[in-house]
């Protein structure tokens, strides 16, 4: 799964990114823009020092100097503890909030310069958003909720209801279209939220902790359905979560935030194997690393690499540790590792393998 995704991402890297944020700042308080400017000049452009200055001034620097790109068709997950500025960041991108500094481009368009009219147009056609607590309109039926974005566009009742039914089927809510939100379970409500955000067929899909308010079982179910929908629709997605397991499961790339800063961006494997600091390491501590770390991380380039024995399959470079362990659990000798072309490139000592898993498990 992960390989074809990353290749899809790398393919589009040359093209214009769907979202390009550079040095994005969001500051809460009075006169945020000028205060940020002052702080940046005073600190000589250093983001951390500037943030400290702002805090000393009684301001809240919720997003600090964030720079990242989201590519077409990828699931870009923003992960961090609650209060780390994730929601604030996508609200700046969707202009639900005004940022204090930096630039945001969507498909190459400077979105900070967009007029109110252009913004409405963008939201009607290009952007969709799903909320943590669903944000359903309590006085409307499921059908009217889902059809609402189309109604805003001025579509007539028949057209918009037909389209709404399509999306309602897509999220598996057929038969509930005349219910009111209060009559639905949490999982069903979020399906409505997802359907509504997809009704206008947006290219860019924001999801702000869409599954965090749900029970674990329902959450897993919706995650799977989400991946199913995405495999058909191929949206460009910014997905927010505070749950590392969810991030690793869904993401093509993950951005990790702490106190408003993005401290690492990378694929799930990179995040798990090469955490930039203890904060990130701490996140992946409880994750079953066997499922995310690859053989490459424990392989040693031995002087003499024995050819793979008959009957015992060699390990592949991109195998997860868990799979590797399963396939060589009975041997006590180093096992050969082969690359894509089947060439033997190193060995793994089963002891190292077990030790790696052991360490991660504690």
């Amino acid at each position: 799964m992960s390989t074809d995704k990353s290749s899809a991402a790398s393919l589009s890297e040359a093209a214009v990114p769907v979202i390009a944020c550079k040095g994005l700042w969001k500051v809460f308080g009075d006169a945020p823009e000028s205060k940020l400017q002052d702080a940046l000049t005073q600190s000589g452009g250093d983001a951390r020092a500037a943030a400290d200055l702002l805090i000393k001034d009684g301001m809240i620097a919720a997003v600090r100097d964030a720079t990242f790109e989201v590519h077409a068709g990828e699931i870009f997950v923003i992960m961090g503890l609650s209060g780390s500025g994730k929601s604030t960041m996508i609200r700046c991108i969707s202009r639900l909030m005004e940022s204090a500094g930096g630039s945001i481009e969507i498909d190459g368009e400077d979105i900070l310069k967009a007029s109110p009219k252009r913004l409405i147009e963008l939201r009607r056609t290009k952007l969709g958003m799903v909320f943590q607590h669903f944000g359903l309109f309590p006085h409307m039926t499921v059908l009217d909720n889902v059809a609402f974005p189309l109604k805003m566009q001025g579509q007539n009742k028949q057209t918009r209801h037909a389209r709404a039914l399509e999306v309602i089927n897509l999220v598996g809510l057929e038969g509930r279209e005349n219910s009111y939100p209060r009559e639905l379970s949490g999982g069903q409500r979020q399906r409505v939220g997802i359907a509504r955000s997809l009704a206008a067929d947006p290219e860019l899909w924001f999801l702000d902790e869409p599954f965090s308010a749900l029970d674990p079982l329902i959450r897993r179910q919706l995650q799977d359905e989400f991946l199913g929908i995405q495999s058909r629709l191929k949206k460009s997605i910014v997905f927010i979560t505070h749950d590392i397991a969810e991030a690793l499961k869904l993401a093509d790339r993950i951005a990790i935030m702490r106190d408003g800063e993005i401290i690492q961006i990378g694929t799930p494997t990179e995040i798990v194997l090469n955490p930039v600091d203890d904060y990130v390491r701490e996140f992946s501590r409880d994750v079953a690393k066997g499922r995310h770390a690859r053989v490459a991380s424990v392989m040693t380039a031995a002087k003499t690499i024995p050819a793979p024995k008959k009957g015992q399959p060699a390990l592949r470079l991109d195998m997860t540790l868990e799979d590797a362990l399963a396939s060589c659990i009975s041997t006590y000798k180093p096992v050969t590792v082969i690359d894509d072309q089947g060439k033997a490139i190193g060995v793994v000592d089963p002891g190292d393998l077990a030790a790696a898993l052991q360490v991660e498990a504690t």
Binding site: R91, I120, E121, M129, H133, P138, M152, A200
Partner: protein, 682 residues
């Protein structure tokens, strides 16, 4: 740490008050202007306001009179329509409306209520009143709604708008009437406009509140769906806030009804409020009670029906609605021209006469007992509080005269108790005991002004800091300089006595209701009823038994103002978080221990808010009670209305509003303090 500081500042404030009291005590015999502010030193504020506002009103008068003239048309039309619609039709429509809103219950309520009104013979008067409400409420809804939307759309205005609404809530009802009287001339239009002005703030408040409470994600969902601001507002935010807005409609209706009835004191309109006033003045209490009941019936019907709109409700069969309407039409057609004049229905006149006769017999038989109650309360409670023990204790009242020796003894005891308390660690309590005894000895109405200012300033400091303290003292200085000081103290005394009684009785009742569900089942409908009854009606029963005078006013204020105290106390005591109770139970606490150690401390902020409401209610009723004889600001406002004296009316009204605001802020401050101490909402 925090509590230590708080205690310390509390002790300092109490000490300061005591010091001011002692200095005043010593100086008063030599410096008379400490108690009686010389008229020569006052500013002619009343005249200034009268002149300034009077000039403005004169300027606006042509416009006002024009508007009054224009408003008279819709008013007359509505009245003629309502009065001339055959009653079977009206009852049919109201019953149908009741069904539509709330099924058979409300439908039955409407039918029975209107049948009662019909049978009472007050149908036409009621329809006159209703026509005023019918015009003023839409006005109030539009004005209030527009203000609410404006405040919501332009956050800059929100703060100022809310302060204005706060102030409007504290301005006494009669004070509105005087300038309107000058502007629009005598007549029902004044009542109409006054009630529109009076009823708009609750609407505005609830619109603001409702829109504020719209879930931010719902708001964002509307934006992200690509709605324009208008689309967001009208298709998402307002419908989402509709329940809160309907609460506003309900409050607006009740306020309008209340004001329309109060405005009857202006006269000139044959409405039900006027009927109450008239019969009360003629001491026809049976009829007054009957007319009062008609008002209550209207209030209840309007309140329950509009209240039901603010709740989740299920659909009721529409066919019944049409059936009831058709029934009304058919009945009207069948009886067309044959119905006797509605004013001739007088099914309850015998009952009214019976009430009068029985009341006569009762007062004749129990006059001594009633006088005993009244005089007891006056001589032993109200009078000492008003003029102090030294003046109130006379041979005529207490059987002996107050002597200097008694003063000495009283203070000796007070100091002893105070010292004991201080020694036990309750420094504030100790000082306050001495101060309280001092106040009781002097009498509230004769307190030296420096003491009042220092005392209130100090309390304000403790409650809300320097800013509040300065504001409070500035307001008091304004009152002092405006020659309204004595009247203010009189109002303060009566209000204070009533609030004190409410606090004690209300807290006890609330406690009882919190402990016993049975008690609450009995008390709750009484509270509901008391809160629905327009202010005016409270005067009837107290007058019946205790005639005109301060004691009747005192009782009327208590009857009206006690409700929030009961409600909030019970609510506070019964909504302690379950886990706290469980923790206490598992620590082995008994029921009374849980009450004392967990429930009561936790309920304190809520109870304080109840006290706050009680104070505001008491001030509101104080003015109405001027009709049955109080002294002080209320009386001035009422007199000003009679003389169309804008200056006096507004100045006294403003003084009253200031007193109410001071009390409001002080209590709110303490409630906030408590809440913070408990870690509730920050």
């Amino acid at each position: 740490m925090l509590t230590a500081i708080f205690r310390e500042s509390g002790a300092r404030a109490a000490g300061l008050s005591l010091l001011a009291g002692v200095i005043c005590w010593i100086l008063v015999p030599y410096v008379s202007w400490l108690t009686v502010w010389p008229t020569a030193w006052t500013l002619p504020t009343t005249q200034w306001i009268g002149g300034g506002v009077g000039w403005f009103l004169e300027l606006m008068k042509p416009t006002g009179r024009g508007l009054a003239y224009l408003l008279e048309f819709p008013m007359d039309w509505t009245r003629l329509t309502l009065v001339n619609t055959p009653w079977p039709m009206t009852i049919g429509l109201v019953t149908a409306l009741g069904w539509y809103i709330g099924g058979w219950r409300l439908s039955a309520l409407g039918a029975v209520g209107l049948a009662f009104v019909l049978a009472s013979g007050y149908w036409n008067e009621s329809m006159s009143t209703l026509s005023l409400v019918a015009i003023s409420v839409p006005l109030a809804l539009v004005i209030g709604g527009a203000i609410g939307l404006l405040a919501n759309e332009y956050p800059r205005f929100k703060g100022p708008v809310q302060s204005v609404l706060d102030v409007m809530q504290t301005i006494p009802t009669f004070a509105y009437l005087t300038p309107l009287l000058v502007l629009f001339g005598f007549g029902p239009v004044v009542g109409l406009i006054a009630s529109a002005i009076y009823a708009a703030p609750p609407m505005a408040r609830n619109v603001i509140l409702g829109l504020e409470r719209v879930d931010p994600e719902v708001r964002e969902a509307a934006i992200m769906s690509g709605g324009t601001r208008t689309q967001q507002l009208f298709q998402v935010e307002i419908p989402t806030a509709s329940q809160q807005i309907m609460v506003g409609v309900n409050q607006c209706l009740m306020a309008a009804l209340s004001m329309v009835i109060i405005a009857a004191v202006i006269g000139g309109f044959n409405d039900i409020g006027w009927e109450v006033l008239l019969t009360m003045r003629k001491a026809q209490f049976g009829q007054a009670l009957l007319a009062g009941l008609v008002i209550v019936v209207f209030a209840v019907v309007i309140d329950r029906m509009s209240g039901a709109l603010a709740q989740q409700r299920q659909q009721h069969d529409k066919r019944v609605v049409w059936g009831l309407i058709v029934l009304g039409i058919v009945a009207s057609l069948l009886t067309w021209g044959q119905l006797p004049n509605v004013s001739d229905y007088a099914f309850f006149d015998p009952s009214a006469e019976y009430v009068d006769r029985s009341l006569g017999a009762f007062t004749a038989a129990n006059g001594a007992a009633l006088d005993g109650i009244k005089n007891g309360a006056m001589f032993y409670m109200l009078l000492p509080l008003r003029i102090g023990l030294d003046d109130a204790v006379l041979t005529f009242t207490w059987g002996f005269d107050w002597t200097a020796g008694m003063t000495l003894g009283l203070f000796a005891v007070a100091f002893a108790v105070g010292l004991l308390l201080a020694w036990r660690g309750h420094v504030v309590g100790g000082i306050l005991t001495v101060v309280a005894v001092g106040i009781l000895h002097t009498g509230v109405s004769q307190l030296p002004w420096p003491f009042v200012m220092v005392g209130i300033g100090a309390v304000a400091w403790v409650s809300g800091g320097r800013r509040l303290s300065i504001i409070c003292v500035a307001m008091l200085v304004m009152i002092l300089l405006s020659d309204l000081w004595e009247r203010s103290l009189l109002s303060l005394y009566l209000c204070g006595a009533a609030v004190f009684a409410c606090a004690v009785l209300g807290a006890l009742t609330g406690l009882l209701c919190a402990v016993s569900p049975l008690a609450w089942r009995i008390v709750q409908p009484i509270c509901d009823m008391l809160q629905t009854i327009p202010l005016f009606v409270f005067l009837i029963p107290v007058l019946m038994f205790f005639q005109i005078g301060e004691f009747s006013a005192f009782l009327a204020i208590i009857a009206y103002a006690i409700v929030p105290m009961v409600r909030y106390t019970r609510h506070g005591l019964t909504t302690t978080p379950e886990d706290l109770i469980e923790a206490a139970v598992s620590s082995g606490a008994t029921g009374p221990q849980i009450m004392r150690e967990v429930r009561i401390p936790f309920a304190a902020p809520t109870i304080l808010l109840g006290l706050n409401q009680t104070i505001l209610y008491a001030f509101a009723m104080l003015v109405i009670a001027a009709l049955i004889g109080t002294t002080g600001l209320g009386q001035s406002i009422y007199l000003a209305l009679g003389k169309a004296d804008v200056g006096l009316g507004l100045a006294a009204g403003a003084a009253m509003a200031m007193l109410a605001m001071i009390a409001d802020r002080l209590v709110q401050g303490f409630a906030d303090e408590q809440r913070k101490a408990l870690g509730l909402n920050g």
